[in-house]
């Protein structure tokens, strides 16, 4: 992974010192709350329903064991002993005090971490494929480009006061696990016929109250031009993005209103200037140096282990068999597997991990791998380098920690935002709804049989829980002070990205588990076979049968 030298270290330490000064000036009144707000937001500090919330950046979701232990230490010392992993591969602490925040930033800086630009109207933490560097279907490792984007955007002086927040996602694999279609900029790394690396470049995607899939700006942007082109996109957006209405301020609205052809024309014209700036062009030496930070670790030479895997999947230990089938992903190196830790069970809110669990995961990552942990945008964790001959041991350890629920990418692998339990934007609670669905779907065999299916819950139209792109989406709304939930079907965040369609009238929290149950039963009847996934059936038959199942009189 990327390792700081003294220059990187100086930058995060200077940031901690700067923020300490800003907090002091806020407390002695030299800074008003209005002036302080954008400053604290650009340092990830929100004022929530009950307390401050600090969002820590985990660049492209990659953590070392040392960093995870430090997060555990911070959770114990300054919070209530836990943290919450988010859909943007970050970690949130829900209970820090304003006065402790500078000390937390110092603690983060000591392990090469920070909270820079995790909020505010600026370029946010860059997200990527949680299997980056290890996925069997990877074409090019996206992490060096993510790190370039991180460095370029960190304290970029021109783009600290954009019309609105700005999110970039990068994938380098065949399957898109980074949801690039719903980001302000989405990049798919490709190779041309000559083997040269470049980017299929998308812009203008997003969720929120106006879900939009990104438009393609370039089929193939040369590797060396990544920053020059991105600077051109940001400059056009900074100058022309709407500032009169925060709900129309995202780049997706600018592109829609201007038309993608005109937007592209302006970006290309600007790029004619930026591409000749040597400070933006990534020369071969800089590219090579960055890539050297991400060379593969020392893998052992092992048999491929497929026989053992097959035996495990067919074996008598059903819990282990199901776990192998759903929580493992193929690794690029023979004899290794990618193991996903499900943070979705009935015991903790989706994405929550206690300090003790963080320490235990850090230990596991060192014992079974190279001390690396990844965060997925579905709010799970990944041990990227587990030897297949150690899978039983790892499974047992994860069962002990409560992270072996065999449901990754299954219906109970629910994405949920913090909702009205924490968030002052929310209209409705998300976590209890997620938990009630999990309780009604406790039968692991059934969950397994239902196959790949994403269920995403947002507590308000800001869509932090990605409800638009869930195969089943649930959106919390407020009707005269009461919490209701709207169901959508048919969303996807993958290569076949789509926005879900509203099924019918909103339901109460009590009605939701039953409605989900009826949707699943309808799917089970309609599917042509075990291979036809939920999304495929929704696309084939439309909403009609599901509408009928949910809203017909069941009394």
């Amino acid at each position: 992974m990327y390792r700081y030298d003294e220059a990187d270290q100086q930058i995060v330490e200077e940031r901690a010192r700067q923020f300490r000064g800003q907090v002091e000036r806020r407390l002695d009144g030299r800074l008003s709350e209005e002036e302080f707000r954008p400053l604290r937001l650009q340092n990830g500090l929100y004022l929530q329903l009950h307390a401050y919330m600090l969002r820590v950046a985990i660049p492209y979701g990659l953590l070392s064991a040392t960093q995870l232990r430090q997060l555990a230490h911070i959770a114990r010392t300054y919070d209530r002993g836990y943290g919450h992993f988010t859909t943007r591969q970050n970690l949130q602490f829900n209970w820090p005090t304003l006065t402790d925040t500078p000390a937390i930033l110092d603690a983060l800086a000591s392990v090469q971490m920070h909270a820079i630009q995790t909020s505010g109207n600026c370029v946010r933490n860059v997200t990527s494929d949680p299997f980056a560097g290890v996925a069997a279907d990877e074409i090019v490792d996206p992490r060096p480009y993510c790190e370039f984007l991180r460095q370029w955007s960190t304290f970029h002086p021109e783009f600290a006061h954009l019309p609105r927040k700005f999110k970039i996602a990068v994938t380098g694999a065949t399957v898109d696990r980074a949801a690039i279609a719903v980001h302000d900029i989405g990049l798919r790394i490709r190779k041309d016929e000559a083997g040269r690396i470049g980017f299929e470049y998308f812009a203008g995607g997003g969720q929120g109250r106006t879900p939009v899939l990104a438009e393609k700006l370039r089929d193939f942007l040369e590797e060396a031009d990544l920053l020059a082109y991105t600077e051109a996109v940001l400059r056009i957006y900074n100058e022309l993005g709407r500032r009169d209405n925060k709900y129309k301020a995202r780049i997706k609205v600018l592109i829609k209103e201007m038309g993608s052809a005109e937007f592209r024309r302006r970006v290309e014209a600007e790029f004619e200037t930026t591409r000749h700036d040597p400070a933006l062009r990534l020369d071969p030496e800089a590219l090579a140096r960055m890539k050297a930070h991400f060379v593969p670790p020392d893998y052992a030479t092992l048999p491929d282990g497929q026989t053992a895997l097959q035996a495990g999947r067919l074996g008598k230990d059903r819990a282990y068999a199901r776990w192998l089938a759903s929580n493992l992903a193929p690794h690029r190196v023979p004899g290794y597997a990618i193991v996903q830790l499900s943070l979705k069970s009935e015991t903790l809110p989706p994405g929550d991990v206690t300090a003790d669990q963080m320490d235990a995961i850090a230990d596991l990552a060192e014992r079974h791998g190279f001390g690396r942990i990844l965060v997925t945008h579905r709010q799970n964790l990944v041990l990227p380098d587990v030897r297949i001959d150690a899978l039983r041991q790892v499974h047992a350890a994860l069962e002990g920690l409560g992270f072996a629920t065999p449901n990754v990418d299954r219906v109970t692998d629910i994405i949920a935002c913090p909702g009205l339990d924490y968030c002052d934007l929310a209209n409705a609670r998300s976590i209890p709804v997620a938990q009630s669905i999990q309780q009604t779907l406790a039968d692991a065999d059934r969950v397994h049989d239902l196959g790949p299916l994403t269920l995403n819950i947002s507590g308000c139209i800001n869509a932090c829980g990605h409800h638009h792109v869930g195969n089943i989406g649930i959106l919390g709304i407020d009707k005269q002070g009461e919490e209701f939930y709207q169901l959508t079907l048919g969303g996807s965040a993958r290569d076949d990205a789509s926005v879900g369609k509203v099924l019918g009238r909103a339901l109460t929290a009590e009605e939701i588990p039953g409605a989900v149950e009826r949707i699943l039963a309808t799917y089970a009847v309609l599917r042509s076979g075990a291979d036809e996934a939920f999304l495929a059936v929704v696309r084939r038959v439309g909403l009609g049968p599901f509408k009928e199942a949910v809203y017909a009189d069941h009394s």
Partner: protein, 163 residues
């Protein structure tokens, strides 16, 4: 009025005129852009520097055409959270090659000074009631920067690897 110029507190040597005030002789003046457009011919030969006050949304081509006769371009920042002035400054220092004074006026606060200066501003009229002495400290908030800007610092990713 005291302003910050080149990271020092100095007395402003320019007289700021509205649409109607008579133009004094022998002293630098800053006028609203619309007035400068109307009176540019008579202002050309007055023998003292002339500047303009513009909104960040000004038509760039028209402004660039005028730059050779301007000693100061003062860009208005209506609200400190409005980032358009930063891009305009970069364009003026970059492709337009403006080397005169680029002054930030309006809702100019201490915590934005460093980024404004990196984008090419070299003079600052602070919002009313702000301590200039306090504000000077902001330039020291960050010594190193990853990316280059109008300041032409070398991007950190071009540094050779240690060892």
């Amino acid at each position: 009025m005291r302003i910050i110029r080149d990271r020092r507190i100095v007395e402003d040597t320019f007289v700021h005129l509205d649409e109607h005030a008579p133009v004094p002789s022998g002293v630098g003046v800053v006028l609203p852009w619309s007035r400068w457009l109307a009176e540019r011919a008579s202002l050309a030969d007055r023998g003292a520097p002339v500047g303009v006050r513009v909104a960040a949304t000004i038509d760039l081509a028209t402004l660039v055409e005028a730059l050779s006769s301007l000693a100061v371009v003062a860009i208005e920042i209506p609200k400190f959270t409005d980032g358009r002035a930063y891009s305009l400054a970069r364009r003026l220092r970059g492709e337009a090659g403006f080397s005169g004074e680029l002054r930030a006026v309006g809702d100019v606060l201490r915590d934005q000074l460093l980024f404004l200066s990196r984008c090419g501003f070299d003079a600052f009229e602070l919002a009313p009631g702000r301590s200039l002495e306090d504000a000077l400290e902001a330039f020291g908030d960050h010594e190193r920067h990853y990316q280059s800007s109008a300041d032409r610092t070398r991007p950190l990713w071009t540094r050779p690897s240690p060892g």
